[in-house]
Symmetry: C2
Subunit: 411 residues, 2 copies
Amino acid sequence: MAKVNQNYLQLQGSYLFSEIAKRRTKFISENPQADIISLGIGDVTRPLPDAVIASLHAAVEDMTDTKTFKGYGPEQGYDFLLQQIVEHDYAARGINIQTDEVFVSDGSKCDVSNIQEIFSNDTIIAVTDPVYPVYVDSNVMAGRSGNYSKLTNRYENIVYLPCNSDNKFIPSLPDRKVDLIYLCYPNNPTGMTLSKDELKKWVDFAKANKCIILYDSAYEAYIQEDDVPRSIYEIEGAREVAIEFRSLSKTAGFTGVRCAYTVVPKEVKAYDEQGNEITLRDLWNRRQTTKFNGVSYITQKGAAAIYSDAGKEQISKLVQYYMNNAKIIREGISSLGFEVYGGVNAPYIWLKTPEGFGSWEFFDKLLQTANIVGTPGVGFGQSGEGYFRLTAFGSLENTERAIERIRNIKF
Amino acid sequence: MAKVNQNYLQLQGSYLFSEIAKRRTKFISENPQADIISLGIGDVTRPLPDAVIASLHAAVEDMTDTKTFKGYGPEQGYDFLLQQIVEHDYAARGINIQTDEVFVSDGSKCDVSNIQEIFSNDTIIAVTDPVYPVYVDSNVMAGRSGNYSKLTNRYENIVYLPCNSDNKFIPSLPDRKVDLIYLCYPNNPTGMTLSKDELKKWVDFAKANKCIILYDSAYEAYIQEDDVPRSIYEIEGAREVAIEFRSLSKTAGFTGVRCAYTVVPKEVKAYDEQGNEITLRDLWNRRQTTKFNGVSYITQKGAAAIYSDAGKEQISKLVQYYMNNAKIIREGISSLGFEVYGGVNAPYIWLKTPEGFGSWEFFDKLLQTANIVGTPGVGFGQSGEGYFRLTAFGSLENTERAIERIRNIKF
């Protein structure tokens, strides 16, 4: 008799976005004339850079001729792309990463949810709160979470590290034993960053406690300030304790094209039951070669084009377009007296809701009085209650209109 | 202290293809003039169909304009592709499959290795022997295999169903309790099929024993004979017990483009710890929406083109090209007195090695005397010892030359 993975039944419903959709739909049905502006979704809207388009077309043409046709490629990614990644994303910043430490994939969502497979079942994970839900859910599915409590909105075996205005969104080091620590900087959803000194504390903690840091830097391209690390490998010792996830989704508008990569330096080790050191790079390589068949050749060719001179200039303009929106939102909302975070090195603006408004009350107020859809902070975790996320991924015109509308709301 | 998934350490090395590469490299270094023909690899070599190429180019153009640009798509696949799949692959054969029972992915290797996640850890799996190694390895990684025995070349908790010339490559029903049964027809590596009557026995067995059949039909497009089921859903009752995996890799030359799909009918149920029925379609949907972000829009547009009139004709020609090679190999080898299987409804030819030759001895003989690389059957499991796989995915010219060379070998 086939039995299901009971851990799946511990998952909480995809409450956040379905509830947003429900309230939005209800509002539209009652107000069919409303001109809704969405600043809620974390998805890009601008076209792909020209250099990428040209490279995609050329790669499609390669598939028309037996001489240039490509079948199965290396599961880890083609060398032409690995070389570009290593050279431009790392060597150019003085970081030593080898091509055989880089694993190209079809998305960071896959990588950050699959990475837990190579660790033991009794691994204790730590996450910041609020947090990108995939880190938690992938561990719930694997049976590491323990029971969910409705009262606390938390799982009993997961270590939550609150981030709020009291600690300036800088999480404290864990006060109990943990094995895996998920960090995402620039942060989704808060848009906040860690300085090099702050990140150094985490690397030192991981080394001292033989933990592994899973470092999600999907928003790295949005960093504007000098003291903010682009890669965790800028921090001394990180090659021994950190796995880094990068994505082209937000960097180059690839959310619909699907390309990302994961870096596992050969020095990163964990332990088997006998206490022997095991090289995680080799386990991840085994995972990927067994369960994955590589990224589309066409996609990888498109990805490689972002490292050309033209490509670099074009993705820089793309990022600046969204960061201009971020500035408009941040300064606009700030001028209205809101406490505002993020939006400086990230496309996300995280605001404290006004006195008397929880995250969902603020959502309703914004929808009903300004016809704007944002994301309630509590949807990312209990510490997000009383906060609200706006994103910079809309058009310039809509972003400006949205701020004007918010200006006219009476709280 | 981070500990590894100990189950990974139970995995046997990717012995087969690395050993093939090693012997090939050694031979070439000693015989630099040798003109090697590979009939070993299960990868396509012909260009993509014109209809696919045109659709890929058009999809790339969609990404140049904000009006047609696509960001994140549905994790399950775009409706334009789901509709085509349901209509052409199922409804046209009188099979009722709904679009919300189809999940588009970036490859069957991912799907067949991820599907085990939705089942409990104590699930007993059954596989045919010889077998595609991914079914076994993904379960080893999940901790379901027990220990590996070098003596038997098998894992202790996996139920192996031998397929050899004695049983005409038709596996017997399991003689002990199993929960999940992996079947692949047309079969990789043997190229053999099950008739509708034979497959009906498996569906009935699964219903009677509350098992689930995981039916891999990656080679469905190569079926030539009428009595061979194209889909397990041609069999009465299969909607209650079977999950089907399909791929465009071999159907349309997509090994480098990456598109496949999995069908999970809503009637397929497994049980929770309390004995309640759980709908597997919903668990798989949860798995995919949590850990996967959908297939490239461009790829999906290319995939949809194979269902156009022109696309259908072009993929039919592609399949016939390879099947002509299969015929040349099958008839050529057969005329030399070999016992030959497969190659009628599949691009694989499975031959019995001559008296006194194990799989690897035959490999060496073929490499050294005819400069041909094939795949030793024992690499697919213990029951493959004494067999050898040749594939029809080469060029016509090389296929003909290979047969000529084999004709001249003296055994």
